[in-house]
């Protein structure tokens, strides 16, 4: 037989599922956002990550209940599709899709400075601040180095995922374990440096005062909004539920395990980073904050790799890269699900005839991601967080609606103390959304404008598709269903009927 064949996707276990969630949450968030959070909240950045963990825990309960009851991949979109009418579920998918694409841009933008820092550690390029632009001989123009590198990173991963299914699946587990190990090394050496007595040794004096300047405890709220994206991971877990073995038990477990472990690791890393570098120093280093902290206290006389800090910088490069890979896959899966449900054009919901990948979905997502790498990192973080907040509100709403309308639906995992968690989830997410929008009004109107623009575009796309479909069905087509007697007209199993 002449045709080539591909390997079907493998089954994922509890560890794999947990690691997929943690991979996205720990990956880029911790390296990219810590510096930005310290800039807004000072040493209280530790509270920021703890509180965000607590806020998302309520939504985590909702995800666990829905994932156990609705056996479909596609994450929050699949739940909304099952629960709400066409408009709401479309907007849910549309927003979630964007959240992932912008997260892709964010991770790519976090990748770039860390990659430059890695090159710098080994003396290939001048320090980060000195690399203004790289010359592109081909187009004889200069682009900012950061955006240029981010663009290339996205391009590479999109190309990889468009032609091969190998980058998804259980490779992620190994990657995530490596990331966690690197962070634990960072934490261990950070605490050990307390006895060193050097300038950047760990000291609790860096946490005093906890709230910088004349700010009150409320000043940390915008940082909560900005770093919310760090906890997007369990939506990612639920985009792959059908590939997980024994999902009705493993998915809720994976959600809780990844959330708990992530909060612990975040707090440890942030404590070390602030304790050594101090909040101002961390803020100054921005997206490369953790890497900068590491180079300051890691031993510098290790053979081969020379500077111990390079391990952490490598960790940052590696993490942002793998997290980028995860959201490239996640964004295309949301688009693919929408296409399959007939909520985007049909070809987005189809596999490529040769590569077996959701080719069109990946390419469409890539366009937005590539366009977004010119944004400032903070805008990308803010927009992605905003869209995750909005989608999480819908997910919590879905739990309540399903409980009311379909009481008999089988729920292998039922959250405790219903309806308190989803109501609190909605309330707290709304508060954060409000805070974030207020903050954006003052500091980042571009992000707000783009946010509104995307929602508007969604409205247009929805009605354009509706219109196209209705004018399609007016011309009688040869397509099947309803008036034909066979249940499934195009497929007949050779088993014979009655």
């Amino acid at each position: 037989m002449g045709h080539k064949q591909r390997k079907p996707a493998a089954e994922l276990g509890l560890l794999d599922a947990t690691m997929i969630g943690m991979g996205a949450m720990i990956g880029a968030g911790i390296f990219v956002l810590t510096g930005l959070a310290a800039e807004i909240a000072g040493p209280a950045a530790i509270l920021v990550f703890t509180l965000n963990g607590a806020v998302t825990a309520f939504t985590g309960l909702s995800y666990a209940e829905l994932a156990s009851a609705v056996p479909k991949s596609g994450g929050g979109y699949a739940f909304a599709r099952e629960t709400f009418d066409d408009v709401v579920s479309f907007m849910m998918g549309w927003m979630l899709w964007f959240a992932y694409m912008i997260a892709g841009a964010l991770y790519a933008l976090g990748f770039a400075p860390n990659f430059l820092e890695l090159l710098h550690v080994y003396g290939f390029v001048p320090p980060l601040d000195a690399v203004g632009a790289i010359a592109l001989p081909v187009v004889s123009a200069t682009v900012p180095a950061k955006a240029g590198l981010a663009f290339i990173a996205v391009l590479c991963l999109v190309a990889l995922n468009a032609v091969s299914t190998a980058a998804s699946g259980s490779v992620e587990t190994v990657f995530t374990i490596v990331k966690i190990a690197i962070l634990l090394v960072f934490v261990a050496f950070g605490f050990l440096s307390a006895t060193g007595g050097g300038e950047t040794s760990f000291t609790f004096q860096n946490f005093d005062p906890l709230f910088p300047g004349d700010d009150s405890a409320f000043s940390i709220l915008p940082a909560l909004g900005l770093t919310f994206i760090a906890f997007e991971g369990y939506d990612l877990i639920t985009t792959i539920t059908e590939e997980v073995e024994n999902p009705r038990e493993n998915i809720p477990k994976a959600i809780f395990a990844s959330l708990g472990a992530t909060v612990v690791i975040y707090v440890l890393v942030v404590v070390v980073a602030i304790g050594t570098l101090g909040a101002p120093g961390l803020a100054e280093a921005g997206e490369a904050g953790i890497a900068r902290a590491a180079t300051s206290f890691m031993p510098a006389d290790i053979p081969i790799i020379q500077n111990g800090g390079a391990v952490i910088v490598f960790g940052a490069v590696f993490s942002t890269m793998t997290a980028l890979n995860a959201v490239v896959i996640a964004s295309s899966r949301v688009a693919f699900s929408m296409g399959r449900e007939g909520q985007l054009i049909q070809s987005i919901g189809q596999l490529h005839h040769r590569f077996g990948t959701p080719f069109v979905a990946i390419l469409t997502s890539a366009v937005v991601m590539l366009g977004s790498v010119v944004l400032p990192t903070k805008s990308a973080g803010n927009m992605s967080s905003l869209f995750f907040l909005l989608s999480f509100i819908i997910v919590n709403g879905a739990v309540i609606k399903l409980r009311r309308e379909r009481p008999n639906m089988n729920r292998p995992y039922e959250m405790p103390y219903y309806p308190v968690p989803p109501l609190l989830g909605i309330l707290l997410n709304l508060v954060l959304t409000g805070v974030l929008i207020t903050y954006l009004l003052q500091t980042d109107q571009l992000a707000l404008l783009l946010t509104g623009g995307w929602i508007l575009l969604g409205g247009i796309a929805y009605y354009a598709l509706e219109w196209a479909r209705s004018s399609d069905s007016e011309t009688p087509s040869s397509e099947d269903t309803i008036d034909q007697p066979g249940v499934e007209t195009g497929v007949t199993s050779k088993e014979g009927g009655n």
Partner: protein, 216 residues
């Protein structure tokens, strides 16, 4: 075409296996089942949303969201129950297609009332006859989890109009016959939209094959 949304009433042996097959082909399923133990088994399988309750009760039946369903299949062991479920479904949602399982061969008796009637014991009896007389077998008895399917290539499907050389089907699937079953398929065989092909498919890749050939 979009996936079919099918509501199956009765998640016993027939209902469960039907749900499984349709799930493998990429469709959306809701199963209504009264027995708590069977409900637990079904949710372990994780191929359908499960509603626990008596499907003859409209308050339970409507929780399956009939307004969005394409087909309601009543597959419990009792003819009367199945007929009642189909009638209730049609009353709640006139556009929905109904299929009922019967306890014995009924001919065309229910034709005006439901859209399809199945009597699964025929297939079972054929399998038994195949096991007794081993030299002659119908296809279904020689295949384990392997399915022989006749698939019509949809107009908008990814593989429509492409030759087998240009197409990479997942491992575990094989196009056996060329268009409309007169020849064995070769690398030059073109998958014409609207034509029917016999395809051997292992169950774990049938959703991929369905996406490629049916576009769902």
């Amino acid at each position: 075409m979009a996936p079919l949304r099918t509501v199956i009433a009765g998640g016993g042996r027939v209902g469960k296996r039907t749900a499984e097959l349709l799930d493998e082909r990429g469709h959306d399923l809701v199963v209504i089942e009264n027995d708590a133990e069977t409900v637990a088994e079904l949710s372990d399988e994780y191929f359908a949303t499960v509603i626990e309750g008596d499907a003859t009760r409209p308050s339970v039946l409507s929780q399956a969201r009939l307004d969005r369903a394409n087909v309601v299949a009543a597959l419990t062991a009792r003819t009367g129950t199945n007929l009642a479920i189909c009638m209730a479904a049609n009353h709640l949602e006139p556009a929905v297609e109904t299929v009922m399982r019967t306890e014995r061969s009924v001919g065309d008796e229910y034709d005006g009332l439901v859209d399809g009637v199945i009597f699964p014991e025929t297939a079972g009896a054929r399998a038994a006859a195949n096991a007794i007389e081993r030299d002659v077998r119908t296809l279904q008895a020689v295949t384990g989890t392997l399915d022989m399917m006749e698939i019509t290539v949809a107009d908008q499907a990814p593989v429509a109009g492409k030759s087998l050389t240009d197409v990479a089907l997942p491992r575990g699937s094989l196009v056996v016959s060329a268009a409309d079953g007169h020849r064995i398929a070769g690398s030059e065989t073109v998958l014409e939209p609207g034509h029917t092909y016999i395809v051997a498919v292992e169950s774990d890749v049938s959703d991929e094959v369905m996406n490629l050939m049916r576009g769902l």
